[in-house]
């Protein structure tokens, strides 16, 4: 399912003295089965864009198409609910949404809102727990007895339970320790790779963009300034640094090496593995050749 923004604008409290424009002239596309990273500073409009992805907000100008459905300012609220099942959003610090007595019932909450029976929804919850790294024994425990990291996993399971085609993640690892961060990011990558989910990741972490995303959208002051493949966009390191968005460490280090050794890295390495391969080609092979003669 594709999501497309055409000339989207959004103004808060339109027509009141407190009117403020959050988005303007936004064109962007999120292709089916892609892994899109949405980056920008706090206040760039990321969170407003995010709420358009499943029609929590309707554009005040332009149109957003989610699959077959086109949403404009005039679209009736009725019938938008089914989009919420297709596009699941894991908000920042999603553990704040937990409210049920048991973990199982909390995970089952979403499916039940879409007409799945209680038993079936609980079954679903049970099946999802291992996927988020918790075992079935958690099913009947209270979500409020868990550690912060475990609560996060339950909240994520609560969104996955909707079986969305598109999964939107707003800084899903904020505040977690490195181990937890890695596990959760790997889990999302697995959903993308092996279950064909479309992922939209809102993040400040350029390392994550480099490692996981195949498409990147940069927002600045309410509009899209750049859109493209991370490998292409990261070539403009100076521009990204000047925007204070930064580049992945690998890119920065590769550029340092290019200057010092007069090397050119092509394609631009985004991960340490890619960089190591290219370094090996440049020095490793040379050395072996040298050893032989």
């Amino acid at each position: 399912m594709d999501i497309r923004f055409e000339e989207v604008g959004f103004t808060y409290q339109k027509g009141t003295p407190f009117e403020s424009r959050a988005l303007y002239d936004i064109n962007l596309s999120i292709n089916d089965k892609s892994y899109t990273a949405l980056v920008g500073h706090t206040g760039s409009g990321k969170s407003t864009v995010l709420q358009h992805l499943n029609a929590l907000k309707k554009p005040t100008e332009g149109s957003v198409s989610i699959g077959e459905q086109v949403i404009t300012a005039a679209t009736n609220n009725k019938g938008l609910k089914k989009l919420r099942k297709k596009v699941g959003i894991v908000f920042q610090f999603p553990e704040a949404q937990l409210f049920e007595e048991t973990i199982g019932r909390d995970i089952a909450f979403g499916p039940k809102n879409f007409g799945v029976s209680e038993e079936e929804a609980i079954e679903k919850a049970k099946a999802l727990l291992p996927q988020v790294g918790l075992d079935e024994s958690f099913l009947d425990r209270s979500p409020f007895d868990l550690s912060g990291g475990q609560m996060r996993r339950v909240a994520i399971a609560g969104v996955l339970a909707l079986e969305p085609q598109v999964l939107v993640l707003d800084e899903p690892t904020a505040g977690l320790d490195p181990q937890g961060r890695k596990e959760i990011m790997d889990m999302f990558y697995d959903l993308y790779k092996n279950q064909g989910l479309t992922i939209v990741l809102v993040t400040h972490q350029m390392e994550d963009v480099a490692q996981y995303a195949d498409h990147m959208v940069i927002l600045e002051k309410g509009t899209v300034t750049k859109e493209g493949a991370p490998r292409d966009l990261f070539k403009e390191a100076d521009w990204l640094e000047s925007m204070q968005l930064g580049v992945p460490q690998t890119v920065r280090f590769a550029q340092q090496l290019e200057k010092r050794f007069n090397w050119t890295f092509d394609p631009l390495p985004l991960t340490t593995d890619e960089l190591a391969e290219q370094i090996k080609e440049k020095i490793g092979d040379g050395r072996e050749a040298g050893d032989r003669t």
Binding site: P17, R84, I89, F99, L162
Partner: protein
């Protein structure tokens, strides 16, 4: 949802009214609400209306904001006014139907009650539009101070009030975030029948309670770490300053009361 909260929201400005001491404004508004009950004829209401018009004019805030202040209360006002009209008996009766009477006195009374509502709302809206909530809480603390003598915990009340005000925006953000998260999980707030609507509040209220308790606990720890041990021995950073314009304003209010006493019948 923020749209509905415009009524009574502080609008930054530098008008004379904005710059008055919050104590002056608070006392003035309370005093006004008391003396409005002195008014009982056209002249007294006209005087009050002129006074309010002057105050609104001095605040340099658009009249539409004040009219917006009336909107949420319009049904209450109309209901009271209609009761007043229909149940006041008088000498000039136009119409009678069972217990209902439409009389000249009734109509006049209705008009006065309507005026009273409008003037009170305008005055209190003026107070909240031109005074930061924080300054208001300062003024309340100051005016409550004499009560400390009879063991009213004025310091605690003031601290609670200012912390509550400080957390209003934080909790509003939080509410919106949780609403969004639950909507994304398929809840429709404000749709369906009454039972469904009540049910949909639970997934909003429980997380809000939980997070507020967590916040309160963390805040208490932070306050303790910063050496807070109750009101005793504490000094105060915020200060209010009384100026000539405040004295003048208070005199104006007293003058208004005198005028009303002279004009009332």
């Amino acid at each position: 949802m923020m749209d509905k909260l415009i009524f009574g929201r502080y609008i930054p400005g530098s008008s004379l009214i904005h710059r008055l001491d919050p104590r002056t404004k608070l006392m003035g508004a309370i005093f006004f609400i008391i003396i409005i009950f002195l008014a009982n004829n056209v002249w007294t209401y006209l005087t009050l209306a002129l006074f309010v018009a002057l105050a609104v004019g001095l605040s340099k805030i658009k009249v539409s904001f004040f009219i917006n202040g009336i909107k949420p209360l319009i049904w209450l006002i109309l209901f009271t006014v209609i009761l007043q009209i229909l149940f006041t008996s008088g000498q000039t009766i136009y119409f009678r139907f069972g217990p209902f009477i439409l009389s000249e006195e009734g109509l006049i009374n209705g008009a006065f009650i309507f005026m009273r509502f409008v003037l009170i709302i305008f005055m209190s809206t003026l107070l909240t539009l031109t005074t930061m909530p924080l300054s208001l809480s300062d003024a309340i603390e100051y005016l409550l101070r004499p009560l400390a003598v009879i063991k009213v915990p004025v310091h605690e009340i003031a601290l609670m009030l200012s912390i509550a005000l400080r957390f209003v925006p934080t909790l509003m953000d939080e509410t919106e975030k949780i609403m969004n998260a639950q909507r994304a999980r398929g809840i429709d707030f404000g749709e369906g029948n009454l039972y469904e609507q009540m049910k949909s509040i639970v997934p909003l209220l429980i997380p809000l309670f939980v997070s507020s308790f967590n916040r309160a606990e963390e805040l208490a720890t932070a306050m303790e770490a910063r050496g807070y041990k109750g009101g005793e021995g504490r000094s105060k950073y915020r200060q209010l300053s009384w100026e000539t314009k405040d004295t003048v304003t208070i005199i104006a209010f007293l003058g208004l009361a005198v005028l009303l006493l002279l004009l009332k019948t």
